[in-house]
């Protein structure tokens, strides 16, 4: 029998289960995701930095860990909570077990808890901080949790953004090479790494782009010095309001009329830069089944979502308009500007995990890039 583990929420609710992965204490915002497949992609998605991820799907680890499904260089979540983890995975691509991967990455997990009950709790009370521990007593843990910095106040992009500029595809690297065989890059795209998922640059390179990934602290001038045909603002974790520096850069980018694509956090920053307000959702959108209506075509797409904040549509200004909305709660899923080459969407067209229905947005972006602009 595995060691016992406890997950305690900031309101004092306690869930007792068993430890897997690393045996230690971890803290973070507790969020749930409703996707039924794709745990490996989620674990390595930098947007989950600072969070303890609850999988609503009860059996996690079934198909092991593969060599090709990483979305960043390492596990990004602080910890995970599952109903049951699979000790004996089975899949053609599996090279190791989830438990083994967590252990090697020193990330703790808790299993055997009523994750549905936990999900219902978060749904009704809203997102909150939690502590997952194999060693602390409840009182000490709660004490520690209370003293710990809140999610909203932590600059998590700082933790996940690249320190070095790098190219994608990069020769000799399996992660990038695998997607580099289509055609050599004709467009030069600068990707601002706020918590980049590999699949964004995989898709760009499949579509024939050369991507230059830059740290989130890169200045406007340094970006422009790379002579980008287009700029992508990546998704990422945390509170956009903490990213004043990036917001200024985005303001500048908008002014240059270089085609701009903002995804998730990138989209929120475009909103911020244009003067709109951001608010925190009660428990966020995390899953692979959210219906979004494209107001231009009136068509509905099933999208992958992973965000805790949204743009307040009533505060949009400077000619920006809502382009897409979430059919579940009518929140803003995309904004556009009639005169600017901007694609700004709250959800994840790069999928991975989840439905690939929105990958057309990359084509649309590249169509903008291909069009001569007056800049």
């Amino acid at each position: 029998m595995s060691k016992k583990a406890t997950l305690i929420l900031e309101d004092g609710t306690v869930y007792r289960g068993y430890s897997f992965g690393s045996e230690r204490t971890t803290l973070g915002e507790v969020v749930f995701d409703t996707a039924m497949t794709g745990y490996q992609e989620m674990l390595t998605d930098p947007s989950f930095a600072g969070q303890i991820l609850v999988f609503t799907y009860p059996m996690i680890g079934n198909y092991g860990i593969s060599e090709d499904d990483f979305e960043s260089g390492h596990i990004q979540v602080r910890g995970i909570a599952v109903r049951e983890y699979c000790r004996r995975p089975s899949n053609l691509h599996s090279i190791r077990t989830l438990d083994n991967y967590l252990r090697d990455s020193d990330i703790p997990g808790i299993s055997g808890i009523d994750t549905r009950s936990l999900t219902r709790h978060i749904r009704s009370r809203g997102s909150m901080m939690g502590i997952l521990s194999t060693e602390m007593c409840d009182e000490d843990a709660l004490e520690r949790l209370k003293a710990y910095p809140r999610y909203n106040g932590t600059d998590l992009v700082y933790e996940v953004s690249t320190e070095q500029v790098y190219q994608w595809p990069a020769v000799g690297d399996r992660q990038t090479d695998a997607s580099a065989d289509i055609k050599q890059g004709s467009y030069n795209i600068v990707v601002v790494d706020l918590g980049l998922k590999y699949n964004i640059v995989r898709i760009l390179s499949q579509l024939g782009c050369r991507a230059t990934v830059v740290p989130y602290t890169t200045s406007l001038n340094d970006i422009l010095a790379l002579h980008p045909d287009g700029v992508v603002l990546s998704p990422g974790p945390g509170n956009p309001s903490l990213l004043g520096g990036v917001i200024d850069v985005v303001k500048g980018l908008i002014g240059t009329k270089i085609p701009l694509m903002g995804i998730c956090l990138g989209h929120l920053l475009i909103g911020k830069a244009s003067g709109a307000e951001i608010f925190k959702l009660k428990f966020g959108h995390h899953g692979g089944n959210h219906p979004v209506r494209d107001l231009a075509t009136n068509k509905v797409y099933i999208t992958v979502q992973n965000h805790g904040y949204a743009i307040d549509d009533s505060t949009l200004q400077g000619g920006f308009e809502v382009s897409q909305i979430n059919l579940n709660d009518d929140t803003v899923e995309g904004i556009c500007h009639p005169d600017l080459p901007i694609i700004s969407i709250q959800y994840h067209p790069e999928a991975s995990p989840g439905p690939r229905d929105s990958s057309y947005l990359f084509d649309r972006f590249l169509a903008m890039v291909g069009k001569p602009t007056d800049a």
Binding site: Q40, R116, N289, V300, L327, N328
Partner: protein, 1084 residues
Amino acid sequence: MHKLSKVLVIGSGPIVIGQAAEFDYSGTQACRALREEGIITVLVNSNPATIMTDEGIADIVYVEPLTVEVLARVIEREHPDGLLPTLGGQTGLNLAVGLADAGILDKYGVKLLGTSIDTIKKAEERSLFKKLLTDIGEPVPQGTAVRSVVEAKECMNSIGLPLIVRPSYTLGGTGGGIAWTEADLEKISSYGLKISPSHEILIEQCLLGWKEIEYEVMRDAKDNCITICNMENIDPMGVHTGDSIVVAPSQTLSDKENQMLRSASLRIIRALGIEGGCNVQFALTPSPIVAETWALDQRQVDSSQYYVIEVNPRVSRSSALASKATGYPIARVAAKIAIGRTLDEIPNKVTGKTLASFEPALDYCVVKIPRWPFDKFAMGDRRLGSQMKATGEVMAIDRSFEPALQKAVRSLEFGKRTLLWEDPAWGKGEQRGLPPLQPNDLRVWAIMASLRRDEDPDKVSQLTGIDPWFIYKFQNIVDMEKRLLSEPLEPNILWEAKRLGFSDEQIATLADRLPEQIRTIRHEWHLRPVYKMVDTCAAEFDAETPYFYSTYESENEALPLDGEKAVVLGSGPIRIGQGIEFDYCCVHSAWALQEVGMKSILINSNPETVSTDFDTSDRLYFEALDEESVRDILENEGSDAASSIVQFGGQTAINLAQPLDVNNLSILGSAAEAIDIAEDRQRFEDFLAKLDIPQPPGAGVFSVPEAIDVAQSLGYPVLVRPSYVLGGRSMEIVHSDDELTRYLTLALELDSHHPVLVDKYIQGKEVEVDAICDGEDVLIPGVMEHIERAGVHSGDSIAVYPGVNLSESEVNTIVDYTTRISLALGARGLLNIQLVILSKRGSSSIYVLEVNPRASRTVPFISKVTGLPVVNIATKVMAGMTLQEQGYSGGLWKRRGLVGIKAPVFSMSKLTGVDNYLGPEMKSTGEVMGVDHNFEAALTKALLAAGLMLPSKGSLLLSIADRDKDESISLIKELYSLQYGFYATEGTAAMIKSMGFPVEMVTKKLDEGHPNVVDVIHDGSVNGVINTVTGGRIPLKDGFDIRRAAAEGQIPCFTSLDTARVVVSAISGDGGKFSVKPLREYLR
């Protein structure tokens, strides 16, 4: 789109293997969805045991045979603007094609909704389908569609064996198969070509051992596409998906594999242009462990490869399963899309907040297990392959795989056959061998037994082709079994065992206690199941649906319902003897409870049914119908607050009466005592004797000599049966000491504690009555007469309402007996009584054969032909309203100016090795109804709908037992006068010759020259068979080949002269001039 005002919906007809209750569910949802939109719905279905054919579901209901001619007459009369064919299974689809080809749709300007003829053809015609997939770049297995055996062989030469043969436009894999040799290929191809309506078959590379994955997809006219659910077949490619154990969602697929197949599904539904639902089946590269033995070309493969196997351009059995597995009402949404609504306009009724354009997120695991009929057909070929054999299925939900599997096994209702069961043939102790692991109905148990014998899970995976993931889960269950055998029973281990789905009974067996002791300990340790909601959204939104499953977790979401409430116990999986009729009753009972202001709670395990639809009852528990789960649910609802209704769920529910009663759980309606009197033969005999109502003389015996004494004093033939089961199981008519000895030896071997009953077999007219009793009055909706004399199971007989050959005094006696029995039993609610009338020289004696204090399978039929809402009235009686308060009085309900005929429908062509001779054991899977103003017309329609009608010209093969020869003379004369040609076996041919009629003699000895009896059936020389036999049930070697050949050739085969006689009367009479009109017009 032009606004539609009237839409014709085609039902799927009788229940047969491959097309069961799921289409009542989908059709009912569709009709209700269309009515919500203000559209007048016209429904045609020949199956009376369906909710969809009830008043209040569709606006105009036709219970008429499902043929192109009849539908053309309906269209001519009703002038609908649209036709919705995609909810009536393969039958609906094929009829739509038939109507279009006949020019009927064009002639009357009827628009085909949802799926165009072009699309149906593209999806169903194998050659077109293959081309479409190739055109859009989807991978298909190597192979071609062919129209001759010669072409099939050419294909074999280029691809190699084994090959799979799939006929176009057939149902449940009918006529298909896997060819391992050239001879197989010849045989399967020629049969498949014959049976395919378009005489086309697909010869394809056989992907045995590959994973089989399905996607349920939905598309609207605006081209919005979603997938509802994916499902993984535990049994790999090679076993029909209807015969596979299926899990939802997929378990062994990575997100990449899942999205690869999901994206392909969307491309396919778009290319087909379907507006509505569709099911796509894929084969996917198996696990390397499986590939090692099964898919040799995939051994070193390092990427996932898939092939598209099949598409159903309609709502299917898998859609019903997906609906119940996810909570997403596929049929309802498909119907709305068909009339032009889009996904983003249709609300999700489950959450009440979101829209139909989303993809359900599951936070549980669903397991479906097929229910095969081999408990009834022990002689049948149990091997599973590309042709479906299951009659029904069960589904179970839990938070992980092991408990879902275990609950599904419990739901199969095999009595003592829990997952611990082993076939004695597999050996015990030192003699333990490795059980056979090829696909058959017992494979789940064989896998368990192998693992118990310490077989390596990877080896089991290789032997079965089942992904190791599943085998490891089986191993987890076996590991727990071993712990329970060796470790002391403590809270921790008990909790873990319950989390793995072990029933109290299994734990009791392993831990050497009684089930009741386990239950007590469980309660002491506060180990009770909680109930979680199926909400389509993994708890992301607050849902309103009352759809629950049990699990051992911490939070209970099903707080007891407030107010007066009752639990309707469902009927479980569809099987021979317990079909859709009982689900029909349960649904009406739930609705009736609501009418009297009570909350209705349903328990059922069958995903195909209307009863398990999320909005049928106030609350649905998707659970096994066994003592443990029913008691758990009652305790959850508050034992004192909820009573159970056991009368409508067939034998399943009635069997729970005793355990409920013993545990002081209250029953609504007839008390357990009344049920016991009816079921216990001795008590029943005393009971009837006290009422001075005759029953056939007989006695219960415990030994062979005793039996022979009794039989000789009664005189042969005698009817023998065990005392402890009802419903004709293991019942036989025996004609001699030898037969009796054989039967008794077997019966006593199986159970020596209960007597075997030996009754005088009275070969008279069989009659049955349904009645409602409130303790004061007894309302008898109608008396039904069976065409076949006693000896053919009532479920397999043609029943006629009203009894056209019954005298007034006979009817009066029947009413008198029924009334007195009902009152003396103290019945509250429904009863069914079976009687036999023996007429001798003008006077008749009436004997009571059986009393069942519950709803019978004739309830839907009698409700339809009398217009009385029988279940509704009975439920209200149980809830405390008297018949008088409901506006009814006692006695026989006034008959209407109609004749209704119920005919049985068989699925024999699919069950190799099963004898289709009709006897005391039931064999039919479904029923149809013919209704008209006279007997011949009603009969003609019933026979047409049941596929029992002979063509008006042609030849018959006759093989008549010596005992029946005299009786058959008039029949043969009549056939001759109708200008039928005769083929006959030796003795029968001699008789026909002596009558002076031409006849061709064919031998029944298959190894003695040609043409033999089978040849003339196979080559189409004969259009029907009349074959009666002498002797008991086994061995019925005589004529077996004739009957099987007829079943496989799908031509009518009559094994009772009574049936043959009425068929001939239908042909010779005016039956051909039948009416086609709404049911309610016959009732006027």
